[in-house]
């Protein structure tokens, strides 16, 4: 709760800015990639995909409401000489990302950091469905491939909190396209 309040305060401050070219820019993005569990024996490699709306709020910052789907690969366990396949689980996440760094209309190579806060609706066979808070962060690069279109690549660590403590850790390696609305002045 306290963490969420702090992040919301940051976002509220940032939304007060609107004096740069990047501020006010709006982009719509889709993407997908690999979802790699880290230090988790209960899941294998899976995939993720999602959509985002990027809203520039300052020369260095943008906000990104996003909806993503995470699928964790099934895992195998040997039981009395027989292989048993167990569901790795899946989650649908509704979140808000904060983009910090070089943002703006499609141009040369842009590098920025992504910090996200999300609510994951988690499902896994053998457990109760639950909603968990998640934090994510990582670097990303973006390059223009058209007047309004950019290609982005990101490597983001997703930490999905668990009941009792600890977290599921997934490294998301993904790529996507972002289409910026309107005429883009570089």
């Amino acid at each position: 709760m306290r963490r969420g309040s702090i992040l919301l305060a940051v976002l509220a401050l940032l939304t007060g800015l609107s004096a740069s070219a990047a501020a006010g820019s709006i982009g719509i993005g889709v993407g997908g990639g690999l979802n790699l569990p880290i230090a988790q024996e209960d899941a294998g490699s899976g995939f993720l995909y999602g959509a985002r709306l990027r809203i520039g709020v300052a020369s260095f910052a943008a906000l990104e409401p996003c909806l993503s789907y995470f699928r964790q690969g099934d895992s195998e366990v040997d039981l009395h000489g027989q292989s048993v396949v167990l569901d790795g689980g899946q989650s649908t996440a509704l979140g808000l990302n904060l983009i910090l760094g070089s943002i703006g209309p499609p141009g040369g190579m842009r590098i920025y950091g992504v910090v996200g806060l999300a609510s994951h609706a988690m499902k896994q066979e053998g457990t109760d469905d639950e909603n968990r808070l998640a934090v994510s962060f990582g670097p990303a690069v973006e390059t223009g491939i058209g007047p309004n279109l950019a290609l982005s690549l990101e490597a983001r660590l997703h930490l999905i909190s668990l009941d009792g403590g600890g977290a599921r850790k997934n490294m998301g390696l993904s790529g996507g396209l972002i289409y910026y609305l309107g005429r883009q002045d570089r």
């Binding site: 963490r3 004096a19 988790q40 024996e41 209960d42 910090l100 457990t127 668990l162 600890g166």
Partner: protein, 210 residues
Amino acid sequence: MLSAGNGSDFHHRMSSSRWNTIYKMMHKRERLLFALAALMILAVLGSCTSWLGSATLRITYSLKNGIHHLENEIQSAEVDLGENSDWQEHRDNITGISRILFAFWVINPTTVDVTAQFYISTDETLTTAQQIENQATLILDGVSVPAQDSVYVAAQDSYQYFRNVDELADRLIDGRFHLYCISSAAPFEIEVPDSAAFLIEFTYAVDWEF
């Protein structure tokens, strides 16, 4: 005396100067906010260090002996997770159990259909079905076994039969208990061979030692 053109330049310079000042102020404000945002994000991420320093492991624990419920005899099995080296290594740092599954055969040698019930207790001296029902904790219920037949419940199918999962998780974290199986109906005869096994997935805090 200023000409009209000069006056326009003057106003233009004034206007430009004002915007420059505002731009510089905004630039300074943005820098300040950038630093503030970065600090706050660091604080948020810093508070997630316990999330970073955790891992999920899975262990398998097979019962050493079978359990049964006969009309005049009840045989329980001891579950001692301390026998598992992974559990033993991390037991003091376990933060939670995320999934429990149980694979087992149930044999019904009687001529009537029965339902198997599994209970756990730290007390190994329970000798009657009534004592078990009153003093132990029900953890699995509803496994129907036809007369003179057997049923295998696979690990991935076992979750639907679990009851009181939180209490089972607490007992597992304690590490040691006794498992009982009783039949729901006369003539009270049911067997679970020693192939029964628990699959337990747990999360533990990584002990950072350099």
